[in-house]
């Protein structure tokens, strides 16, 4: 009968159930922690995915415009069968960011996502239809605004209250161009709205296209209302599109192909106007203009290519305004338009003729043609000299008047292009004025200079150019980063008429012009969001790391319990061997038992993993929320992770079991039969080469790593030091074991501390393996506590120090609407509306204004993997000023220069001072070749979020659709620039020309004026959504993430320590039980119980002290660069107390074990002998 066969494991498992339960439980703990940690990663990813799906609802794709396009595009797409076959709902919207003020309380909220939505938007969030009903209620005077709960709470408003919404008024021309609206008052649009409903902070209440887990402030206005307020009737800047394939699962199968398909459908319906182009047929040419007034280089190139492909000749025209044109004879005319074009070609075409009848000549630099009106007005003719004043946009986007001298090359008659009013674009504030004296242009004019003669010209010819210069000459004078061409004259080839050419090009333009050239982009927003939801940080890996000590403790305990269990069955093993069972067979038998126990534990642990991960997620939502910035993180259980975690845990457990069995199987059967578990008592065994070699190798490695760190790049030095410290820990423990084996023998002379210590050391050497285990547990715990504690800084930095993370600035501010006015000047502050006192107050501050390119937050505060980092443009004065603390910078050769924290300040290249020629910020102005732009970022963001490093590149797409590489030439350390990368202002303007004005500011106030300055700025600039916070607060928010992670590490390390202490207690108890005979002998010899207890506690204290000493010393070495960096605020006292706590916990554990044993009657142990 099978039951009679003694070979099966079940009887043994049943018989030794107590020991086996311990093995199962500890295996369950190991599996719970390991699998649970992996599940945290799943849960964070799953939660981010949920957030993405929630915030976007049914929206899969979006057509986004920097400018506006026709709202009708929506209806045309909806009626398109091909579109309908693949895509579902489509909605036109105006998406903007603005600020909202509750006028009575003055409460304000900046960075509000304001959505002007049509009736179709609700299809994306069908459950929130009621909240999104923006129709006016009876008696409601103002248009409706639906707000989400966060916004309602920020403003303390409820349905029925009225608020004021501030938005940036759209500008056709770039604001920084001559034709752009720069007056702060005209830059903003304020709209009084009535709160119609309060949406929950989910679904449409969380809507935002940018992937971020933080709760946005959201407001909805009816599209029609917003169009009216912004004077963009029938226009939208976004089309939101759902995909049919995504309707069921919420996720599209092939979003990139869908986006391409959508782009094709959009192109098939878009009109030239949607690409900001207008074609007007004239008698002999086709006129092409842009609603942006000035053609960008890409758009101009696209028009030229279109014309070329149709055999048409494109003549570019750049028309500008001369403030004053003066002759040497004293005659002067104000405000004349001046057109730059190929006058020679225009002459050949008969479009420009000299008054004498000859075709206009080609002009060289410094030559000009004047029309007959101006020639007469100034009394000039060919050969006379003219002085022309005109504005250009300066480096800081201020208007600067310049003067150029030109020689009159001839006088043109006012026919053809010289009499064509359309040569001049519709300058805002000018084109629609009946009289010149009614001008309200975007640039300063002195209307008193306008004469009757000028008004007469205006009445007759409007803005018809009075002067003509060569295109290159003109472009050299007033071209800006926005371009210079204001129109094209296309001369049809192949006998086509201008209208025919116009019809063809109008049809072709939407299909052929790159979307980005018109500031348009089709984005698979949901796919992008879901991609980002994989997270910048691998929380699975992070929590495995955090839980490592806990996992290792549990694995050690599994091995320990199993080993104790098998050791107690040593005689059984010996008997089996003596009966002729082979070693392998016996080993297999025990391994099988271990595997069964481990497997049962792992299965149990998978349930525990769900609990562990659930607890971690709950902690992330609450205790550790400052690390994740969201309370919307929930448990997600992935079967694959359970399987992987279970398999991994089983491997760990089997490894531990194998170690326990292998050790015992090496003992001779005779000894095993006697119950002995070692071949030779350790106390007499020669030190094993393994311990010696482990010590030597680990020590040598530690030396190599620590020595190597001196020459290593700063970014690697910390790792080398940490690894060196860890090796030192191993070497220290190996040395301790060797010392135990070879400690000097002290004669026992009476009952003294020395004798007691010597006896304790001798006792500890009895079983070095177990002693090592105890010391290793404590050493690892101490290592973690000291290393983590030393890094866990309290924020106490002096932000006013130039080399601090705040660079000496007190305040960091951002605005929703870019501010063009120069806040550092009295005039600029006056323009912005500062009163005299407020202006004086703000004027006493050092202010640096940065242009920005919107993008993803790359700080650790964003859990999503950023795709496009936000960029700041550092102005020249900031570069010259220097400041901030650099982790590392590249040198001229592109190699990493020493930026080590422990380098003396004098030798550090990263210690700039005001005016210091060595300031690393100057690296931003290096020319690294075409397509490469130097950039500086914060070490933490670059390393952990962008997963990049010094000298490496990050690719971004420019406004022109080109891909450039942002080469990281410097890494800051714990700076305020953790959410973005910094490039030079010049490079930002070059690659992102439309980004005008500043929306990021750093301010250094007078020491006692920080709060007042902040309040005054926020009050006066509330319409701009200006929001300032102390730099210390911003740095603290970043620091909080790091500290929270460290706290998490410590907490889980503490749990590991708890487990370790439990193990320590078990080891000790086991030791004592094994040594009952020894204790009984000592009692018989005359030692009283308390003396025996003292000896045991001393032995245990020795192990604890050794563990703490080795662990703490190794950790201090590991973090020494940080400690020597000068900015570490190590909580020495709390660290010391924590270590004392470790000692106390260990001692308590030993006391419990001692108490258990010394209370027992030891005499049976003597009888047993």
């Amino acid at each position: 009968m099978a039951a009679a066969r003694p070979g099966g494991p079940l009887p043994s498992l049943r018989h030794y159930w107590r020991a086996n339960v311990a093995v199962v439980l500890t295996a369950a703990v190991a599996a719970s922690v390991l699998t649970g940690a992996l599940m945290v990663g799943d849960s964070v990813r799953g939660s981010l995915r949920d957030l993405t799906l929630d915030r976007l609802g049914g929206i899969d794709h979006a057509l986004l415009g920097a400018g506006f396009f026709r709202e009708d595009l929506r209806d045309e797409l909806a009626a398109d069968e091909e579109f309908a076959a693949r895509f579902g709902p489509v909605s036109a919207a105006i998406l903007m960011q603005g600020s909202v003020v509750e006028p009575e309380s003055g409460r304000r909220a900046a960075r509000v996502n304001v959505q002007g939505i049509d009736a179709g938007f609700v299809a994306f969030f069908p459950d929130a239809a009621a909240g999104l009903d923006l129709s006016r209620r009876e008696g409601q005077f103002f248009a409706s605004l639906a707000v989400n709960r966060s916004l309602a709470e920020a403003l303390a408003v409820e349905a029925g209250d009225s608020v004021v919404l501030y938005l940036e008024r759209p500008s056709e021309a770039p604001r920084a161009s001559l034709m752009g609206e720069k007056d702060p008052e005209d830059q903003l649009e304020s709209v009084r709205l009535s709160v119609s409903s309060v949406l929950d902070d989910e679904g449409p209440g969380r809507f935002q296209l940018a992937p971020h887990q933080s709760q946005p402030l959201v407001g909805y206005v009816r599209l029609r209302d917003l169009q009216r307020e912004l004077d963009r009737r029938g226009m939208a800047n976004a089309l939101l599109v759902g995909e049919r394939a995504a309707a069921g699962s919420g996720v599209a199968a092939d979003p990139d192909s869908a986006a391409l398909d959508l782009e094709r459908r959009i192109r098939s319906h878009a009109e030239a106007g949607d690409f900001s182009l207008a074609f007007d047929g004239a008698e002999d040419h086709l006129r092409v203009t842009t609603s942006q007034i000035v053609f960008s280089e890409e758009l101009a190139g696209a028009v030229e290519a279109l014309a070329r492909d149709r055999g048409a000749e494109a003549v570019g025209v750049s028309t500008y305004l001369a403030n004053r044109t003066a002759a040497e004879n004293g005659g002067a005319a104000p405000y004349s338009t001046i057109a730059a074009l190929d006058t020679g070609r225009a002459g050949e075409l008969g479009a420009l003729r000299l008054a004498a009848g000859a075709p206009a000549p080609a002009l060289g630099p410094g030559e000009a043609l004047v029309n007959t009106f101006l020639a007469e007005d100034l009394g000039v003719g060919a050969g006379d000299r003219l002085s022309i004043d005109y504005f250009v946009v300066g480096d800081r986007e201020q208007l600067v008047e310049r003067t150029v001298e030109a020689t009159v090359a001839g006088v043109v008659e006012m026919t053809g292009w010289a009499a064509d009013r359309s040569m001049t674009p519709d300058f805002p504030g000018v084109a629609d004025a009946d009289n010149m004296s009614d001008w309200d242009p975007t640039f300063p004019v002195d209307l008193s200079r306008i004469r009757d003669r000028d008004e007469a010209y205006w009445d007759e010819y409007r803005g018809t150019p009075k002067l003509f210069v060569d295109l290159d000459f003109g472009a050299g004078l007033w071209s800006s980063r926005f371009g210079h061409l204001t129109s094209f004259r296309l001369l049809p080839g192949d006998g086509a008429s201008p209208d025919e050419l116009g019809a063809v090009l109008e049809a072709e333009a939407p299909a052929r012009i790159a979307l980005h050239a018109a500031g348009l982009a089709v984005e698979p927003v949901k796919a992008t969001g879901l991609r980002g939801a994989t997270g910048a940080t691998d929380f699975g890996g992070l929590f495995v790391g955090f839980s490592l000590f806990l996992i290792v403790s549990a694995a050690l305990l599994v091995g320990l319990f199993f080993r104790l269990g098998t050791e107690s069955r040593a005689n059984e093993m010996g008997l089996l061997l003596a009966l002729g069972h082979g070693v392998r067979r016996v080993r297999r038998r025990f391994l099988l038992e271990g595997a069964l126990l481990g497997g049962a534990g792992v299965l149990l642990g998978l349930g525990g993993a769900v609990l562990y991960a659930g607890a971690m997620m709950a902690a992330l939502r609450t205790l550790w929320r400052s690390a994740v910035g969201s309370s919307h993180l929930y448990l997600h259980v992935e079967p694959l992770t359970l399987a992987l975690g279970g398999a991994g845990s089983l491997l760990v457990v089997l490894f531990a079991v194998r170690g326990a069995v292998g050790r015992l199987a090496g003992v001779s059967p005779i000894r095993l039969l006697r119950g002995e578990t070692v071949e030779q008592p350790a106390a007499v065994a020669a030190p094993r080469p393994r311990a010696r070699w482990t010590g030597i190798v680990a020590g040598a490695l530690a030396l190599a790593l620590l020595g190597g760190s001196a020459a290593a790049p700063a970014s690697a030095a910390a790792y080398l030091f940490f690894s060196g410290g860890a090796c030192l820990l191993v070497a220290g423990l190996a040395a301790f074991v060797l010392w135990l084996r070879r400690r000097p023998e002290a004669p026992l002379r009476g009952w003294s501390l020395r004798a007691g210590s010597s006896m304790a050391a001798a006792n500890a050497s009895l079983n070095p393996g177990r002693s090592l285990l105890c010391a290793a547990l404590v050493a690892s715990a101490s290592f973690v506590i000291v290393a983590v504690g030393a890094y866990g800084l309290r924020f106490g930095e002096e932000t006013r120090d130039l080399d601090s993370g705040a660079g000496g600035f007190d305040l960091v501010a951002e605005s929703d609407v870019s501010i063009l006015a120069d806040m550092t000047s009295v005039d600029g502050r006056y323009e912005l509306g500062f009163g005299r006192d407020a202006s004086d107050l703000v004027g006493r501050s050092e202010i640096v204004a940065f242009r920005t390119v919107p993008g993803d937050d790359i700080s650790c505060l964003n859990l999503f993997q950023p795709e496009r980092p936000r960029l700041l443009g550092a102005p020249p004065e900031f570069v010259e000023r220097g400041g901030f603390r650099f982790q590392s910078v590249v040198d001229v050769a592109g190699e990493e220069a020493l930026g080590r924290e422990d380098a003396p300040p004098a030798s550090r290249p990263d210690r700039p001072s005001s005016g210091d020629p060595g300031t690393p910020w100057r690296l931003l102005e290096q020319d690294l070749g075409p397509g490469v732009v130097p950039a500086i970022g914060d070490f933490n963001s670059v390393m952990w979020i962008l997963h990049s490093g010094l000298g490496q590149g990050i690719e971004v797409e420019t406004e022109r659709g080109e891909t450039i590489e942002l080469r990281l030439v410097g890494l800051l350390r714990k700076s305020v620039f953790q959410s973005e990368l910094v490039i030079s202002e010049a490079n930002l303007a070059r690659h992102f020309p439309s980004r005008t004005g500043a929306s990021y500011f750093l301010l250094r106030t007078e020491p006692d004026e920080q709060d007042r300055t902040m309040q005054e700025l926020e009050r006066t600039l509330s319409g701009f959504g200006f929001d300032a916070v102390p730099t210390a607060q911003r740095l603290q928010a970043f620091q909080a993430v790091e500290n929270t992670y460290l706290g998490t590490f410590q907490t889980l390390g503490g749990l590991g320590l708890l487990l370790g202490t439990l193990g320590l207690s078990v080891v000790l108890l086991r030791n004592l039980l094994e040594r009952r005979g020894e204790l009984a002998t000592m009692q018989a010899i005359g030692f009283w119980r308390r003396a025996l207890a003292w000896l045991v506690v001393a032995e245990n204290s020795l192990l604890l002290a050794a563990g703490v000493a080795v662990g703490a010393a190794s950790a201090l070495v590991a973090v020494s660069p940080h400690l020597l960096g000068g900015h570490a605020l190590v909580p020495w006292l709390s660290l010391a107390l924590t270590l004392l706590l470790v000692l106390a916990a260990g001692t308590l554990a030993s006391l419990a074990a001692v108490r258990r044993v010394t209370r027992e009657d030891l005499l049976p142990a003597l009888r047993g002998g």
Binding site: Q680, P681, A683, V684, E745, P747, L748, R749, G750, W751, S752, A755, M759, A762, N763, S765, L766, G1077, E1078, A1080, T1081, M1082, Q1083, A1084, I1085, G1086, F1087, W1088, R1089, R1090, A1091, L1163, L1166, R1167, G1169
Partner: protein, 237 residues
Amino acid sequence: MTESLRFERVAKSYPTEAGAVEVLRGISFRLEAGEAMAVTGPSGSGKSTLLHLAATLETPTAGSIRIGGEAAHDLPERELAAFRSRRVGLVFQDHYLLPQYTMLQNVLLPTVAAGNGRDEGDAEERARALLERVGLGARVDHRPAQLSGGERQRAAIVRAVINRPSLLLCDEPTGNLDAETAGAVADLLLELHGEEESALIVVTHSLELASRLPRRLELRSGLLDEATPVPLPAAGD
């Protein structure tokens, strides 16, 4: 002569689930200083219990035990331990040498327990001399695992006499040894007993060893064998 040990109607029983088991049933005997006595009897007759009672490791259920005239069992635990370390030497069947200590350290353990702080040097000197005396002079720094069974037992005997106890108690001291080694160990035991002038009780199954001792007490079922009565001396003797 000076009385070294006196048992008066000593009984010892152990509670078990099936009721109390009486191991010794009111035995009485007396041992003078320098006197040696063997205790024999079948297994389970109470020999070891008698020895443990004499060593103050156990307390009698009834009757009284006086060692050197003192009722040591009434002493508090700490004083009792100190008393034991100074006045009683114990040799077991198993040597019970502690494996982590050298021979010298093992031998010195009782001096540590006794707290002989003032004569630490003397103790070490005496320990070395005794080890030399028993032929282990070259093995003082060896650990028990490096010695033979006979050597270990000799060291255990030295440990038992290091504090010059007035009472030397041996529980089957040759039980684990071959005949030749057992003879040598017995010789040593008797020699040292003679030199140290301590009273000696040897519990043994070995009739050969028992025959070498001048007195013999045989225990049967917890009672003294009537065939070998040991008269209780009159009070005041």
